[in-house]
């Protein structure tokens, strides 16, 4: 077996590691701006697939199939994002005689339609969030749209049928704002997914996002795992995940797992997948959607179960039988957290912060796992998702895991670009977070309050002493640099060109 990794960044690096441990050669693909990227350096082979724009490289099915042919790969791992949930890609791989490491193209297509997925869940006896069973296409008349909405009841959520990643979504509180919301959602969905169909879902009050990771093999076995909680979201984007959830009792866990397994079995699911639920305040849960791929947050499940999900994806694709103790898979060993380290500036509305990484020292030591995708000297491009690393902390208890995460965040150096590390340092100290009292609306509320608060401080606010120390350090650095300028008999400007030249060497 030789696996082409049809992805980039940290997940590509993660997959290459799994290949190495299984003794399988890994082929990386890269766009122009990723020539020096870590996944290219770590792989056994690397093939250039086009310009930096994702549409002409990582999203270009033909280029990737061609790369597989040229590199002699016989299997393709899509990772997540890009083509991971593209049914055409899965089919194209199959037609090209390549093993697609994931479920059948048909399964991807069915679950890719949110309404079809909700119907499948219903058939499997799993209640979905109350809402429309059929898409509300552009043809449907405004009056009828209003009727449908009234049936569901307000507040509700307008969602893209082909949706994902929080795009094509609009909350609606009353009929007055329905029309604009539908128009906005449709246009966003149209441009994002090429399908402007939307549907309506009732909006639960303060729901928690609970999801069940599962594996299915080609011999009918489905194993669900202990839940992950992903309620810490910013604008419908997960930023911190954990396992287990404080909101899930062993009894509820059993019911969630059974429901997830029922849905997966009903579609004869093969590979790694995740069923997302919303858990309401009364403890009732509802099917939200199924992701027919690996999730960004898969490491927290690996930490509390010891199972390597990526290795299992590959072994399942090799037709191996799952030999995981299903009972043990539902008993978490300790507690794990994941912080998604993004190249974003939390002090400026989380604006993207691409650019040259001048220095990098990931955290390490007891209970810490760093799944990183970058290196010092690499220029984080503006073309792709801003996730540069996932920092995972494990400890016997949630409290100890939070302390460990804080320790690791303090220890983590990324120099040259802004990251969300200072934001996570702040979040790990929030009483509600520490107490586990949160839902999917928590973080946006907290951030809004923070901005509104008079004299709101920066996430990078330093204790007074350290503030002084930064001034002292900067002055001593400048003093030493000035010394060097004299030594080198260069002008003030030379220092910076000097720096520039050193950077240039970094390619």
């Amino acid at each position: 077996m030789k696996i082409l990794v049809a992805n980039r960044g940290e997940i590509a690096v993660r997959i290459v590691r799994a290949c190495r441990e299984l003794g399988i050669p890994a082929v990386a693909v890269y766009s122009d701006c990723d020539r020096g990227a870590r996944h290219v350096r770590d792989a056994d082979q690397a093939v250039h697939i086009g310009p930096s724009e994702a549409a002409r490289s990582y999203l270009c099915i033909d280029s990737i199939l061609d790369a597989a042919r040229r590199s002699g790969a016989d299997a393709v791992h899509p990772g997540y994002g890009f083509l991971a949930e593209n049914a055409q890609f899965a089919a194209a791989c199959r037609d090209a005689g390549l093993t697609f490491i994931g479920p059948a193209s048909e399964t991807i297509a069915m679950m890719g339609s949110k309404t079809a997925a909700r119907a499948a869940a219903a058939r499997a006896g799993v209640p979905a969030v109350p809402g429309t069973l059929d898409p509300v296409g552009p043809a449907v008349a405004p009056a009828e749209v209003a009727c449908i909405a009234r049936e569901i009841g307000y507040p509700l959520m307008v969602k893209a049928v082909a949706g994902g990643g929080g795009r094509g979504m609009r909350p609606v509180d009353d009929e007055a704002s329905l029309k604009d919301a539908v128009r906005a959602a449709r246009s966003e969905a149209g441009s994002a997914f090429g399908d402007s169909a939307v549907y309506f879902e009732r909006r639960l009050r303060r729901p928690r996002h609970i999801e069940i990771q599962l594996l299915g093999d080609n011999h009918g076995t489905v194993v669900p795992f202990v839940e992950r909680e992903c309620s810490i979201q910013r604008r419908h984007q997960k930023v911190v995940e954990e396992s287990p959830s404080l909101a899930v009792s062993p009894e509820l866990r059993g019911r969630l797992a059974a429901a997830a397994a029922a849905v997966a079995r009903s579609v004869r699911y093969s590979g790694a997948g995740t069923i997302e639920f919303l858990l309401d305040e009364s403890g009732a849960f509802f099917f939200l959607e199924m992701n027919t791929r690996l999730q960004v947050e898969h490491p927290v499940t690996e930490m509390v179960t010891g199972i390597d999900l990526v290795q299992w994806q590959i072994r399942i694709a090799r037709n191996e039988r799952l030999d995981i103790d299903a009972a043990a898979a539902l008993v978490p060993a300790g507690h794990a957290l994941e912080c998604r380290i993004y190249a974003e500036d939390p002090d400026h509305g989380f604006l993207p912060s691409p650019g040259l990484i001048r220095g990098l020292r990931p955290a390490s030591g007891p209970g810490i796992r760093d799944d990183g995708g970058v290196a010092a000297g690499y220029v984080v491009p503006m073309f792709y998702d801003s996730l540069i690393a996932k920092l995972v902390a494990w400890a016997p208890s949630r409290g100890a895991a939070i302390q460990r995460m804080s320790r690791a965040l303090h220890e983590y150096h990324v120099l040259g670009i802004r990251t969300t590390i200072p934001f996570f340092l702040w979040l790990m100290a929030q009483p509600e977070y520490i107490a586990g009292q949160y839902d999917t609306t928590y973080l946006d509320r907290l951030l809004a309050e923070r901005v509104a608060a008079p004299g709101a401080t920066s996430f990078n606010q330093l204790p007074d002493g350290d503030d002084d120390l930064v001034a002292v350090a900067a002055a001593i650095d400048a003093y030493l640099q000035a010394g060097r300028r004299v030594d080198e008999g260069a002008t003030g400007a030379a220092r910076w060109t000097g720096v520039a030249r050193r950077e240039a060497l970094r390619g």
């Binding site: 983590y412 150096h413 330093l462 503030d467 001593i476």
Partner: protein, 171 residues
């Protein structure tokens, strides 16, 4: 040697003299610190403050664009610092603005112009969206820092812009 150092917007006056190899007498806004400093990497400096039980901090220092502008990493956080602020200020684009009544909106990061939401001559309110820039799969609205009138729109939809590129001028 005396520097004006602006840390997170706060201007400090710092004098540095070498008191011994690796030792510095640093005067910060009048207070004297005896500091043991060692380079620990291309971009790293280890400081031990004497006479405070030996407080130890490891800082990472890197230039951030214009001369005199640096980023200082410490203990998981990052401080934006200008050295000899006044001098570099005079060079910086936004600074001149501060003087006259104009306000320049520049691209905070490299990206692609998706939409332009105001035209020259428009009156705009504070925090009113002016330009949408896409980067890293996210659309980012850039808003008016204050109320005023749009004097100039320097970009068009579809353009790729570098960080710091002038987008809109408000007067």
């Amino acid at each position: 040697m005396t520097f004006e150092v602006e840390v997170n917007g706060r201007l400090r006056r710092v004098t540095v003299e070498r008191s011994a190899p690796g030792r510095f007498r640093v005067t910060l806004d009048g207070t004297v610190h005896e500091v043991d400093a060692a380079r620990t990497g291309d971009h790293a400096l280890s400081l031990i403050l004497q006479g405070e039980g030996g407080r130890s901090r490891d800082v990472q220092i890197a230039p951030s664009g214009p001369p005199g502008e640096i980023l200082v990493g410490i203990d998981g956080r990052v401080a934006a610092v200008s050295i000899d602020a006044r001098r570099s200020r005079r060079g910086a684009p936004d600074a001149a603005a501060a003087l006259d009544g104009e306000q320049k909106i520049v691209a905070p990061m490299p990206g692609r112009i998706v939409r332009i939401l105001a035209a020259a001559g428009d009156a705009v309110a504070a925090r009113q969206p002016l330009v949408v820039v896409e980067a890293m799969k996210m659309e980012n609205e850039l808003r008016a820092p204050r109320a005023g009138r749009v004097k100039l729109v320097a970009v068009t939809p579809g353009m790729s812009v570098e960080s710091g590129r002038l987008l809109v001028v408000i007067e």
